[in-house]
C-alpha cells in the first residue's frame, strides 16, 4: 500500500513539477527511502536464503538437508538369504525360508478402533494385545508377530488396518529334524548361528543384509523407495560330509537300541577312514530343531565330539600296537594268564574265568585283564603312552565343532604300579567317541592317519596322510580285531551277515561321586567294516544300559551289527560269501 501511495505521489509530483517543484521534494525523498527500505528487506530475505541454502555454515545447507532427511528419509534393511546346508549328496539339512514379521508403531496403533479385529487375526486375545501395546506405549516400534508364513501375514495385512506394517526376513528350517539336529545346530531369531555347525561356519553361511533408502510420509508409511544403497549378499552353501541315508539308518538303530536297552544316553559316529570324512553322527536323547518350545540344552549336546569318557577295553588294540612295536610280542606269543587274576600293588585284577596260557591275539579277543596287565608290565607305560599320543588321544580332532573336547592323557611325574597298567586297558585317560573312531581309522588306512572333516572333501583334494604305525602292525591288529567278532571273541553279536567285520568291545564303570560305580556302565564298541577292504569305522557308546545286557558285547555290539549291515548295503559292498563273481550271469545280462 505504501508503495502505491508513494508512486502516486511521485507521479503527482512529476506532473506538478512543471508548475513548481519545490513543495514536492519531500515526496521524492519519501519514495526513495521507502524503496530502499523495501529493497533491503527483500535483500535480507535473499541473503538469508543464500546463507542457508548455498553457503556451508553452522545450521546451514548441510544441517537443513540432514534435518529434512531425518524427518522423511529412512534406511531399510534388505534381508539376505542364509546359505543352504546340505549333506554330501545335496539333500537339504538347513534351509532358510522367507517369512514375514508384523510390526506396528504402538503410539499410532493404540488409538485404532479396529484392535478387536486385529487381535483376532493375530490369534491373540484383545486383552493381550492391549497389554502389549501398553508395554511399548512409549516406543515407536513393536513386533506384533514375528516370523509368520507369508500366507498368514498377508491375511493380517489384507485387513488394511492403519499402522500395521510388515517386514521381510528369513527363518531357518531343518527338513531332517532331529536326525541331524545335534550336528547342524541352530540359529537364533536373528539368523545367527548359535550352536553346532551353524555356529562354526557362521561367517560362511551368513548373508549380509543390504540397505535401501525410502521416503516416508507423516504416518511412517513408505511413500517411495529412493534406491538401493547396498545390495544384500546371500550366504554361501555348505555341503557336509554327512551321508543323509546312512545318518537316518544310524539314527534309527541308535534310537531303537536306546529303547531296547533302557539306556539314558547314547552316541554313534561313522567315518570314512580313507578320506577322514565323518559320514554320520547320532545322539540320544534327541531334540527337535524346528521347535524351541520345551527346548532342553542337555538333549542338544553332540556327545560324539563333546563328551569324553574312559575308553576301557576299546583302547586295548592300541596297547597291542605298543606290544607289537616293542618286538617282544607277536600276535601269536603265548602269555600265561593263570590263575585268572593278578595282583598289582594292593589291587586284584580278575578275568571272568581262568583263560590259562593263551596267545596275545586271544588276550584281545577275550579282553583278558590279566593278559593285558602282563603285557603292560613287560612294556612299561612309556611306549603305551607314546602310541596313544601318536593316535591323537588327548589332542583335539580339529573338526571345528563348538565345544569339541580333546580328552585327557595323563601326564604325571610319578606313576604308581597300578596306574601304569590301568592305562593299558583304558582307565585313567579319556577320549571322545570321535577320537576313538579316528584312532581305529589308522588300522583301516594301513597305519596312516588322515585328518577328519565334517565338510565334504573335494574328490580331487589331496588329503595329507601321516604314517603312525607300520603296515605290518596295522594288518596284525586288523586280524586280531576280526577274530574279536569270531566264535571265541567278545563281539560275536557284532557280526554282519555276509561280511567280515572287526572291532573291539568295552565295558566301563561310570564314575560317580564315590569313585567307580559298581552297577552303572558305559557299553562301548568300535568297529571296522569290511575287514578285507577296511574303510568304514563306527564308534558306539551306550550310557547306562539297564538289565543284564550291559556289557559292550551285549549292548553296543548288536547296534554295530545293524549299522554296519545297513552301511555296507548302502555302499554296495560286495559280500564275502559271493566274492567269486558270476561271470556267466554277467555275460547273460550284457553288463555295461
Amino acid at each position: 500500500m505504501n508503495l502505491r501511495v508513494a508512486k502516486r505521489a511521485v507521479r503527482a509530483g512529476a506532473r506538478r513539477k512543471s508548475v513548481t517543484a519545490k513543495p514536492h521534494t519531500m515526496a521524492a525523498w519519501r519514495f526513495w527511502f521507502m524503496a530502499l527500505l523495501l529493497a533491503s528487506l527483500a535483500g535480507m530475505l535473499v541473503g538469508r536464503l543464500v546463507l542457508i541454502q548455498a553457503l556451508d555454515q553452522d545450521r546451514g545447507a548441510a544441517f537443513l538437508k540432514k534435518q529434512g532427511a531425518m524427518r522423511a528419509v529412512r534406511l531399510a534393511e534388505i534381508p539376505a538369504y542364509r546359505g543352504l546346508v546340505t549333506d554330501r549328496h545335496g539333500a537339504p539339512l538347513a534351509v532358510s525360508t522367507p517369512v514375514v514379521s508384523l510390526w506396528a508403531n504402538p503410539q499410532h496403533l493404540a488409538d485404532s478402533g479396529r484392535l478387536d479385529e486385529l487381535a483376532h487375526a493375530l490369534g491373540m486375545s484383545l486383552d493381550d494385545l492391549r497389554k502389549r501395546l501398553a508395554l511399548y506405549a512409549d516406543k515407536q516400534f513393536m513386533y506384533l508377530l514375528r516370523h509368520q508364513t507369508p500366507e498368514k501375514a498377508r491375511a493380517v495385512l489384507d485387513l488394511g488396518i492403519a499402522g500395521v506394517r510388515s517386514e521381510r526376513a528369513y527363518q531357518r528350517f531343518y527338513p531332517a529334524g532331529e536326525v541331524v539336529s545335534h550336528l547342524v545346530g541352530l540359529t537364533n531369531v536373528d539368523g545367527e548361528g548359535i550352536s553346532g555347525l551353524e555356529k562354526t561356519f557362521d561367517t560362511w553361511l551368513e548373508g549380509l543384509p543390504g540397505k535401501k533408502r525410502y521416503i516416508k510420509d507423516l504416518h511412517g508409511d513408505a511413500v517411495r523407495d529412493i534406491g538401493v544403497v547396498e545390495d544384500p549378499r546371500p550366504g554361501k552353501a555348505l555341503a557336509l560330509s554327512i551321508d543323509l541315508r546312512l545318518q537316518y539308518l544310524q539314527h534309527r538303530e541308535l534310537q531303537r537300541a536306546m529303547a531296547e536297552t533302557g539306556a539314558q544316553a547314547g552316541a554313534a559316529v561313522t567315518i570314512d577312514a580313507w578320506t577322514g570324512e565323518i559320514l554320520a553322527v547320532s545322539n540320544h536323547p534327541v531334540f527337535n530343531p524346528n521347535s524351541r518350545a520345551g527346548f532342553d540344552y542337555a538333549a542338544a549336546r553332540n556327545r560324539v565330539v563333546t563328551d569324553a569318557f574312559e575308553p576301557g577295553s576299546t583302547i586295548k588294540p592300541l596297547t597291542l600296537v605298543a606290544a607289537l612295536e616293542s618286538g617282544q610280542f607277536t600276535i601269536d606269543t603265548i602269555v600265561d594268564t593263570s590263575p585268572g587274576w593278578i595282583k598289582v600293588g594292593s589291587k586284584v585284577l580278575p578275568d571272568p574265568r581262568n583263560h590259562g596260557a593263551i596267545s596275545v591275539s586271544r588276550i584281545i579277543e577275550k579282553s583278558s585283564q590279566v593278559g593285558v596287565t602282563k603285557i603292560a608290565q613287560t612294556l612299561g607305560h612309556e611306549p603305551i603312552l607314546d602310541v596313544f599320543r601318536r593316535f591323537g588321544l588327548g589332542e583335539p580332532t580339529l573338526t571345528g565343532f563348538p565345544g569339541e573336547r580333546a580328552g585327557v592323557l595323563p601326564n604325571r611325574e610319578r606313576w604308581s604300579d597300578i596306574e601304569k597298567v590301568t592305562l593299558a586297558f583304558g582307565y585313567g585317560l579319556s577320549a571322545t567317541p570321535l577320537q576313538m573312531a579316528h584312532a581305529y581309522s589308522v588300522f583301516a588306512n594301513g597305519g596312516e592317519r588322515v585328518p577328519l572333516s565334517l565338510v565334504k572333501r573335494n574328490p580331487t583334494e589331496v588329503v595329507p596322510r601321516e604314517r603312525i604305525i607300520s603296515p605290518d602292525v596295522a594288518r596284525d591288529v586288523l586280524t586280531v580285531l576280526e577274530r574279536v567278532t569270531g566264535d571265541e571273541g567278545t563281539a560275536r553279536l557284532a557280526r554282519v551277515d555276509g561280511f567280515a567285520v572287526g572291532g573291539k568291545t568295552g565295558t566301563v564303570h561310570k564314575v560317580g561321586a564315590q569313585g567307580y560305580m559298581d552297577d552303572r556302565y558305559l557299553a562301548l564298541f568300535v568297529g571296522i567294516a569290511p575287514v578285507d577292504n577296511p574303510r568304514y569305522v563306527t564308534a558306539i557308546v551306550v550310557d547306562e544300559p539297564k538289565g543284564d545286557a550291559y556289557a559292550g558285547g551285549a549292548a553296543a555290539a548288536p547296534i554295530y551289527a545293524r549299522i554296519a549291515g545297513g552301511l555296507l548295503h548302502l555302499q554296495n559292498a560286495v559280500p564275502r560269501a559271493r566274492q567269486a563273481p558270476e561271470t556267466q550271469l554277467a555275460s547273460l545280462g550284457g553288463g555295461q
Partner: protein
C-alpha cells in the same frame, strides 16, 4: 526482410536449448521412475520365487525323506531288504 540480430539468435537458441534440456530432465526422471518400478516388481517376483523355492525344497525333502521312503516301501508296496541269498555279484 528483417535480419535478426546475431545476439537475438543466440538468445533464441539458448532458450530453445533450455527448454529441450528441461524436457530431457523430465523424460529421464520419468524413465528412472519406470525402471525403479520395474526393479521393485522384479524384486517382489524374486521374493515370491524364493518363497516358492524354499517351500518346494522343504516339500521335496519331506517327501523324499528316507524314513518316509522306507515306510512306504515296506508297508504300502510290500518291499523288503534283500537277504544275502538274493545277492548276485556281476562282473562289468
Amino acid at each position: 526482410m528483417i535480419v535478426p540480430h546475431r545476439q537475438t539468435l543466440w538468445l533464441v537458441g539458448l532458450a530453445l536449448g533450455c527448454v529441450a534440456s528441461a524436457l530431457g530432465v523430465v523424460y529421464s526422471s520419468h524413465i528412472c521412475r519406470e525402471y525403479y518400478a520395474t526393479l521393485q516388481s522384479l524384486e517382489s517376483q524374486r521374493w515370491a520365487a524364493q518363497e516358492d523355492y524354499s517351500r518346494l525344497l522343504l516339500q521335496e525333502s519331506t517327501l523324499a525323506s528316507p524314513h518316509r521312503v522306507l515306510s512306504i516301501a515296506t508297508e504300502q508296496l510290500g518291499m523288503r531288504v534283500p537277504g544275502m541269498g538274493a545277492d548276485r555279484v556281476v562282473v562289468q
